[in-house]
């Protein structure tokens, strides 16, 4: 834990960590050792839980309004001013509904799945640095922790799909497993590029690195961000890759049989996961709470949440824009497109770090050069590999042929006869 800053009285709400630090140092003065741990755990846990719950509730409204704007309509605008009470109405409705239990299903697993699904979604939030010194648990292996915790989701979703004893759910569960396993690989490789440069897997360490180097890792590792963003979108089942709950194909995938608040939990998990994606991207690639010195005037946690929402907006935008890929196309995309690019990215990144360390170059000189090199490389690779791997759609006609004259059958004569 960082010591409380010299010019930060506890009531300086620009940075909430001051108040907490003050409280904890006061506690350690008066109470036994373990009291500090207990109190900080309770404060941090409650704060994170409340934050996650609040965003899940707020995002119902945010997502519906933003998608509505994209779809030339207004969205919920009846409950409360600008429809702000819509999430509450939604939740009330969901809670009142009967929670159905499929008769031939596996009741214990069926009931456990939505609750367990919330676990990983919540646990991920423990390691994010919301501001300077505002980390609940500053794990040394933060990046790996995030990957590990999110990978548990696979099993939970499989439990949901399997225990429903519904064929659509089963198809959804199988799709979830196939897709999550495939996209895990490029995702981990993409994050490896970040760890390579930052030299630490601790999330606050990565933010501190970006702070010290005065550069966003997004600029140094643009390709890693693109790969991470695509993979994470697939992992949380958002639209271009939402085959696991593809509405038009398998009704709702693994949560077809869920109703009432159990469905609500899955829905909330989806929203929280989308936010978690934004938080990971903001921390690893966009400097977390740091914004080129602006964090001196604006509280770090506000900057962080703002960045998270910007990335979340990107997700909503994608959802409102793109159709869905087919499962074999998605698999091919992961293995044939993302994986090679991720490997190349790692190779180039390792070379650059080696150069940097070996010749003891100054960071201020090297990092801009690297970012220019990597950015151009990313554009080159993505465009080139796309040209090389993708089917050449642009050579195929994308407009219909026009025929003006066709043979006219005798006017008035019933050519086909009575049907």
């Amino acid at each position: 834990m960082t010591p409380p800053g010299p010019l930060a009285p506890w009531y300086d709400f620009r940075d909430l960590s001051n108040a907490v630090e003050r409280l904890l140092s006061w506690l350690s003065d008066i109470g036994p050792d373990w009291l500090v741990y207990v109190v900080s755990a309770v404060i941090g846990g409650t704060a994170i839980f409340l934050f996650v719950a609040a965003t899940a509730v707020a995002n119902i409204w945010v997502e519906r309004r933003v998608v509505a704007r994209i779809q030339v309509r207004r969205g919920p605008n009846r409950a409360g001013p600008w429809g702000l009470l819509q999430p509450i109405a939604d939740m009330t409705k969901l809670m009142q509904k009967e929670a159905l239990l499929p008769r031939a299903g596996d009741p214990v697993v069926f009931l456990l799945a939505p609750i367990l699904a919330f676990g990983p979604a919540l646990l991920v939030w423990g390691v994010f640095p919301f501001g300077k010194g505002m980390t609940f648990v500053d794990l040394n292996v933060g990046v790996l922790y995030i990957i590990a915790v999110t990978s548990v989701t696979t099993i939970v979703l499989f439990m949901a799909g399997w225990s429903s004893n519904n064929k659509y759910s089963l198809l959804g569960a199988i799709r979830v497993i196939a897709m999550l396993l495939s996209y895990e690989v490029p995702l981990v490789l993409a994050l490896l590029g970040v760890v390579l440069f930052a030299g630490t897997m601790s999330l606050s360490g990565i933010v501190a690195w970006q702070h010290d180097m005065r550069i966003w890792l997004f600029l140094v590792q643009p390709l890693a961000f693109v790969i991470y963003f695509i993979c994470a979108t697939a992992e949380i089942n958002r639209t271009p890759t939402d085959i696991a709950e593809a509405e038009s194909e398998i009704v709702a995938g693994y949560h077809t049989e869920y109703s009432g608040i159990q469905f609500g939990l899955f829905y909330a998990v989806e929203l929280v996961n989308a936010m978690a994606l934004g938080a990971i991207a903001a921390t690893l690639f966009f400097g977390g709470w740091w914004l080129f010195g602006l964090d001196r005037w604006i509280p770090g946690w506000m900057i962080f949440i703002g960045k998270v929402y910007l990335i979340y907006f990107l997700l909503i935008w994608l959802r409102g824009t793109l159709p869905r890929l087919r499962i074999d196309q998605l698999m091919a995309f992961a293995w044939k497109f993302l994986l090679p690019l991720a490997l190349v990215n790692i190779m180039v990144g390792a070379l650059e770090v080696l150069l940097w360390v070996e010749y003891d170059l100054s960071a201020g000189l090297v990092l801009p050069v690297f970012s220019v090199v990597n950015l151009s490389l990313a554009v080159l690779l993505v465009v080139g590999w796309m040209r090389f791997m993708a089917f050449p759609f642009h050579r195929l006609p994308s407009r219909a042929r026009l025929v003006h004259d066709i043979p006219v059958v005798a006017p008035g004569a019933p050519a086909g006869g009575a049907a």
Binding site: W34, V141, S151
Partner: protein, 163 residues
């Protein structure tokens, strides 16, 4: 290791890991057995954290719970419903005796031996230490492990592939 938090965590995690391992043997449904196995893996990962081995703990969750258990689920899905029970075979009684003997032996050895326990305390940085160990003294096993993984991957594909 006598902080009350660590002691409490140890007992809770032990009960989780061992209890769900027992349930793996006891439940009739193979899918439930796999889910209990995952719980047991997570419990063991928690024990790793009490041992200040955070890297191994995270890797445990990532590989066992995230990959191996999922592979097992997949294997169960690919075999028919008839093969989804977790029944004991005819040798369950001798197996039980043997397992009991094994547990007793290990327990006796563990408690009777005078271990050269050091008091260096918990590790502070395991990930970087493991990384250095992997690439310096253990570089050959590390390379061999990668070859093993590739061989296993190709082997699995060849075995499952239909001609």
């Amino acid at each position: 290791m006598d902080e009350p938090g660590v002691v409490a965590a140890f007992w809770v995690l032990t009960v989780t890991a061992v209890g769900s391992a027992v349930m793996v043997a006891a439940v009739r449904n193979l899918l439930h057995a796999v889910l209990f196995l995952v719980l047991s893996f997570v419990g063991v990962a928690g024990l790793y954290i009490t041992l200040s081995a955070d890297f191994v703990a995270v890797v445990q969750v990532l590989i066992y719970a995230g990959a191996i258990a999922v592979l097992m689920l997949f294997a169960i899905m690919l075999t028919p419903r008839a093969a989804r029970d977790n029944a004991d075979g005819i040798f369950w009684a001798p197996a039980l005796v043997l397992a009991g003997l094994m547990a007793t032996t290990i327990g006796l050895i563990a408690t009777r031996t005078e271990w050269a326990v050091s008091d260096r305390g918990p590790f502070s940085q395991t990930a970087s230490a493991i990384g250095e160990a992997l690439l310096d003294p253990f570089v050959l096993p590390f390379e061999v492990a990668s070859v093993v993984l590739v061989a296993a991957m190709i082997g699995a594909i060849v075995i499952v592939r239909e001609e």
